[in-house]
């Protein structure tokens, strides 16, 4: 993982932020100048005040410097917040765009959750990094340089001492930092595990309660939380100790400068104004370095999110741009010795299969046997490891997936419903559908009674992930989508799984209406779907065998 305080990939990947970052650097230079100007004016003011006089130009200079610094603080904040907003927006678009580029196969499973969190709230951690840490990082370079230059002009020997001691801060910081970082890293893993346990326990409370163990588990939670505390304190002790060492190094350095200045002043070898200037400026040289170091840990979350976002969105997209002409969905589909291997398992082994236009094919087999992979191949979510899938003789691997998918209607096992109105959810594939066609699809999918029961009918806005609809109702929404798609090839993945008998009957009837007159592949978990299939395929351990159907009626008799 990237440990550098500034990730250079940022400049390349978010060009829109370059100008603001340059402005930020420039503001850092001006800020350093103003620190020097304010100290100079204050030193002059106090040196004359020593004689009981008010140095009006110095007072005016002080007020002007303060006003300018105030303006600068505002500008720094505003610009850094602008950088944060720009970078976050750009990375969000890139992250979500990566999903589009790579396709659903890439995003499936755990990555979906990770990406959603990162693109959603995860990137907001960058605010602290850009507005808190980065300006401080700039100042930690510009301010020491400016201070050193100004003191050199006033009193070169003091400047020399500062120049020699200043590097001690980053050196000690690095030495202590490495130690602390290794310790922190080890602890972090432990802490997140412990935090996770609290979450796990809370999530499993109903089950604990069912076994009468909820109260007993309180003690376990207390012990886990206590372990968390002890581990955290161990980490903190190291972190605080390194902060203490750095502070002492800075203090001793200031003392090294101040003692000779005081003695020379006492001996008359130095003017009061110069001495005051050195006293006021010297701590400023050490401060920004320490401040940046202290804020580094706080900005870690942001840097981690940044690193994750830049890495994830940078993974190269699927190999070749597939722009070939898409075949006609009404043509014959052939699987020619298709093998699909995933990281750990082989989903399909050497599958050869022909699907004639208009055929209704049911696919059965135990879960995990490769049924969904078969549909994934046709959807273009999965590419064969070897062999090929052709439609009307055209290899799907070369066809433009967008155009090809227009020939498909897909009813997945668990359709994703979007945080939008029910109508928009149904119109997913055809946003310009007129109301009449929409109403027809709703009727065909047996969704009309559901719509009637909703407060705003079709205009009802669904919660996140379709919250508020039952499994059976969701499934009918997916069917309505498919009806609206009106495609020659229909792919259904266990459309009646998780439904009770009554909903199953409704969904089944709608499914029959949908597949009429189309080529259909139907993954069937429940037997009720098999009765009107032309052929039944059984997949087991990645191999496909064809079953000879026996008319149901004969069996019963």
């Amino acid at each position: 993982m990237n440990r550098r305080p500034f990730d250079p990939r940022l400049l390349r990947r978010v060009p829109a932020a370059r100008r603001d970052l340059a402005v930020l650097a420039l503001l850092g230079v001006v800020a350093a100048g103003l620190v020097v100007a304010q100290a100079t004016a204050l030193a002059a003011l106090l040196a004359t005040a020593f004689d009981g006089r008010l140095d009006r130009p110095a007072l005016a200079g002080l007020v002007a410097a303060v006003a300018a610094r105030s303006l600068l603080v505002w500008a720094q904040g505003t610009v850094s917040a602008r950088v944060a907003a720009t970078v976050k927006a750009a990375l969000r678009v890139e992250l979500l765009g990566a999903v589009g580029r790579h396709g659903p196969g890439w995003v499936a499973g755990q990555r979906a959750g990770q990406l959603a969190t990162l693109a959603g709230r995860g990137l907001d951690a960058l605010d602290a990094y850009f507005t808190g840490y980065l300006p401080q990082l700039v100042l930690s370079v510009t301010v020491p340089v400016a201070v050193l230059g100004r003191i050199f002009l006033a009193d070169w020997s003091s400047a020399l001492i500062i120049a020699v001691t200043l590097p001690l801060i980053p050196i000690f910081g690095a030495l202590l930092g490495w130690q602390a970082q290794a310790a922190t890293e080890r602890q972090w893993r432990r802490l997140s595990l412990l935090g996770g346990h609290f979450l796990d326990m809370v999530a499993g409370l109903p089950t604990l309660r069912a076994f009468g163990r909820a109260r007993a588990q309180v003690d376990v939670v207390r012990r886990m939380a206590d372990g968390h505390r002890v581990a955290t304190m161990k980490t903190l002790r190291i972190a605080f100790l390194s902060a203490l060492v750095l502070e002492l190094v800075a203090t001793l350095s200031v003392a090294l400068v101040a003692v000779p200045v005081g003695l020379r002043l006492l001996g008359g070898g130095l003017t009061l104004q110069t001495a005051l200037l050195v006293l006021l400026l010297t701590p400023e040289a050490y401060l920004p370095l320490r401040a940046a170091g202290a804020r580094f840990h706080a900005s870690m979350e942001g840097l981690t999110a940044l690193d994750e976002a830049l890495t994830v969105s940078a993974t190269p997209p699927a190999p070749a741009e597939r722009g070939g002409p898409a075949p006609d969905g009404r043509a014959e589909i052939r699987f020619e010795s298709v093998t699909v291997e995933y990281e750990r398992t082989t989903a399909l082994r050497d599958v050869t299969l022909t699907i004639r236009p208009g055929e209704r094919i049911a696919i059965v087999g135990p879960s995990g046997a490769g049924k969904s992979t078969l549909l994934g191949l046709l959807l273009g979510f999965v590419t064969p490891t070897s062999g090929r899938v052709t439609v009307g003789g055209v290899d799907l691997a070369g066809a433009d997936p967008q155009v090809w998918r227009r020939q498909l209607a897909w009813v997945p096992q668990r359709a994703h419903l979007f945080a939008a109105s029910l109508a928009d959810n149904i119109r997913l594939g055809a946003p310009d559908t007129p109301d009449a066609a929409l109403a027809a699809a709703v009727r065909d999918a047996a969704l009309d009674d559901v719509v009637a029961g909703l407060p705003d009918g079709l205009a009802t806005v669904l919660g996140e992930r379709g919250h508020g609809l039952s499994s059976g109702q969701r499934q009918r929404v997916a069917l309505a989508r498919a009806f609206l798609r009106d495609a020659p090839l229909v792919l259904l993945d266990e459309p009646t799984a998780r439904l009770d008998s009554a909903s199953e009957a409704v969904v089944l009837a709608a499914t029959r209406r949908l597949v009429a007159g189309r080529t259909a592949l139907l993954v069937a978990h429940r037997p009720a779907l098999l009765s009107d299939a032309d052929r039944v395929l059984r997949i087991e351990e990645g191999r496909v065998t064809e079953l000879t159907p026996v008319p149901t009626a004969e069996v019963i008799r």
Partner: protein, 599 residues
């Protein structure tokens, strides 16, 4: 704005045991800040006095003071941070435990989504931030300000007045402004961020649906527009937000300038003017920490409110270790010696008499006038379409839902007379929300019955059809199942939960859809072995939407819309016109067709 809000008071009440530690930390923080201020002031005094070339011994005390202050400031800061974090982390441990205890004490939990759960975790951390980043620095700043004004008054009351004005602006007016601005910004940004989070969920979890229907492009464009709008809003809000920080710098500088002006007008000694000026800069800087504290406090308020609501709802008996059964996560002996003698595992007699359940007032009842006699050893199935009220019966029986009317008795005593510890010994099993913990297979199973022997565990696992899988795993019983059982398939998770229920072996075994997620052949096999593994004398209440495998049961109750529409044995029901016979024929035809198709 200084008075503590209600949720803050609720949290602070919990902090009472650590009050001394916290006060110590606050005091140390004040001393640290004061040491810094005194260091600058003394050093200035030293330097300016030196310019008058006094004899060296007049400066000795100041020289020693500067050295002492310089070193002690760092040490004070170190001790303060350690003491503060130690106290606060102790408090957070308590809060976590109490939050869990409060949740555990609820009989009927509301459903929580994953997001709400992780929010709960970060809400608890808000307690930590309230003390460490708000209360401790704020009280230190207030204390230092008072001392600084007092010290300045010894030199020049007029200058002290000027300093006080500067401190009030920096420590009261600006924090109030920052609070208002932060609150407004949060109100404006929150809905947009929420919408964007929903977009992110839709584009990732719904990626396949979008791609299949060619809608990826338009969804991306919509999310892109929202992203741009959020960015514009954030930029605009930053411009006002940082104005407060700018004002802080201005206040510090102007206060110092004003103090010099006022002090010189009152003919204060030149050296002391310098001390006042440098001290003012340092003091206002300390007071400005209140701006950050105010912002932090505003951001914490939502989380604290939720935590306080949870703690308020906790029962009066919040002593978490008061329960009689102090078993560990898994594996420790059940606290047999203190087990209430009244409840043993079997046999039991359950009776529902005219039970009606309504989840919300005004809503249709989920169960109407339900009667059921379940003496020891009897096995009953409840079937019916989804939403008929089947799971409500399980919820009533396990005590998580109370009937609106009617009575449920266990061995003649009303169910509500049994405590949350007693009831699960008699009644339990596989409920709808069965959760698999991020722990080993063994620990998950032993949750059903701590102290079960290896043979008992193996027998229950075999009955659920999971034993072969466990034996195949390299780590065997120690295989960790991953978060929310993520390393398991849906079927395996179901079997694990079923095995745990069988191991618990309560006298009244409730099985809510025990074979969900299994294919028909596996479902029949598992149901048969489950019923066979249940000891005689234990009664079974089986809830199912599948009708196969019910022939051996003593009674089948058909529910529809909360009412019993049919009841009897399987043989009678298939011979009687009605829902059961229709459904049976439908299923039978389909499944026999299926089996005929299997070579």
């Amino acid at each position: 704005m200084i008075a503590a809000t209600r949720p803050e008071r609720a949290v602070l009440r919990l902090a009472r045991p650590y009050l001394n530690r916290l006060l110590g930390a606050g005091l140390l923080a004040a001393v640290t800040e004061f040491a810094g201020l005194a260091l600058m002031a003394t050093a200035t005094w030293l330097l300016m006095s030196a310019a008058g070339r006094p004899p060296l011994d007049r400066l000795t005390v100041a020289i020693v003071a500067v050295r002492a202050l310089a070193v002690s400031r760092g040490v004070f800061r170190y001790t303060e941070r350690l003491a503060g974090h130690d106290a606060v982390l102790r408090l957070v441990t308590d809060v976590r435990t109490r939050v869990f205890a409060a949740l555990a004490a609820r009989r009927a939990p509301e459903q929580r989504t994953g997001d709400a759960l992780s929010r709960l975790v970060s809400d608890v951390e808000a307690v930590q931030d309230l003390l460490l980043r708000v209360l401790v620095p704020a009280s230190a700043a207030a204390l230092v300000s008072v001392v600084a004004v007092g010290a300045a008054a010894l030199i020049s009351p007029a200058a002290a007045g000027t300093l006080a004005v500067g401190l009030l602006v920096a420590g009261v007016a600006l924090p109030a402004l920052a609070t208002a601005l932060t609150r407004r910004a949060a109100a404006e940004v929150a809905p947009l961020r929420g919408a964007l989070a929903a977009d992110a969920v839709d584009l990732t979890h719904g990626a396949a649906d979008l791609a299949a229907f060619g809608a990826t492009g338009s969804a991306l464009a919509a999310a892109g527009q929202r992203t741009a709008r959020l960015a514009r809003l954030e930029r605009r809000l930053a411009a006002t937000g940082f104005a407060v920080d700018a004002a802080g710098v201005l206040v510090a500088g102007l206060s110092a300038a004003a103090v010099v002006f006022v002090a010189l007008a009152r003919d204060v000694d030149g050296v002391l003017v310098g001390v006042l000026a440098v001290g003012t800069l340092a003091a206002v800087e300390v007071a400005l920490a209140l701006v950050g504290a105010a912002r932090q406090r505003t951001q914490l308020s939502a989380g604290l409110t939720r935590v306080a609501a949870l703690l308020d709802a906790a029962p009066t008996d919040t002593t978490p270790t008061a329960g009689p059964t102090e078993a560990t996560a898994a594996g420790a002996a059940p606290g047999g010696e203190e087990t209430p003698a009244a409840v043993s595992t079997a046999p039991h007699h359950v009776r529902f008499s005219d039970v009606t359940v309504r989840y919300r007032e005004g809503a249709a009842p989920a169960l109407v006038g339900f009667d059921l006699d379940l003496p020891a050893g009897r096995r009953v199935a409840v079937v019916g379409p989804s939403g008929a009220g089947k799971s409500t019966i399980a919820a009533v029986l396990t005590g998580s839902v109370r009937p609106e009317a009617g009575r449920v008795t266990l061995d003649g005593r009303d169910l509500s007379a049994y405590s949350a510890q007693e009831l699960p010994r008699a009644v339990g099993g596989l409920l709808a929300e069965a959760y698999v913990f991020h722990a080993s297979v063994r620990d998950n199973l032993l949750l059903g019955r701590a102290g079960a022997s290896d043979d008992e565990v193996a027998a229950a696992t075999a009955a659920a059809g999971l034993l072969d899988w466990v034996r195949e795993q390299p780590d065997g019983w120690d295989t960790v199942v991953g978060e929310e059982g993520g390393q398991l398939s849906g079927g395996q998770r179901q079997r694990l939960a079923l095995a745990r229920a069988l191991l618990a072996a309560p006298g009244v075994l409730v099985l809510d859809e025990p074979t969900e997620g299994l294919d028909p052949a596996a479902a029949d096999a598992v149901l048969a072995s489950t019923l066979a593994a249940t000891p005689p004398g234990h009664s079974v209440l089986l809830i199912s939407h599948r009708l196969s495998g019910l022939a051996g049961l003593d009674e089948i109750v058909v529910l529809d819309a909360g009412r019993v529409v049919q009841r009897g044995r399987h043989a009678d029901l298939v011979a009687t016109p009605g829902w059961y016979r229709d459904q049976w024929r439908l299923q039978e035809a389909a499944e026999r067709g299926y089996f005929a198709l299997t070579p």
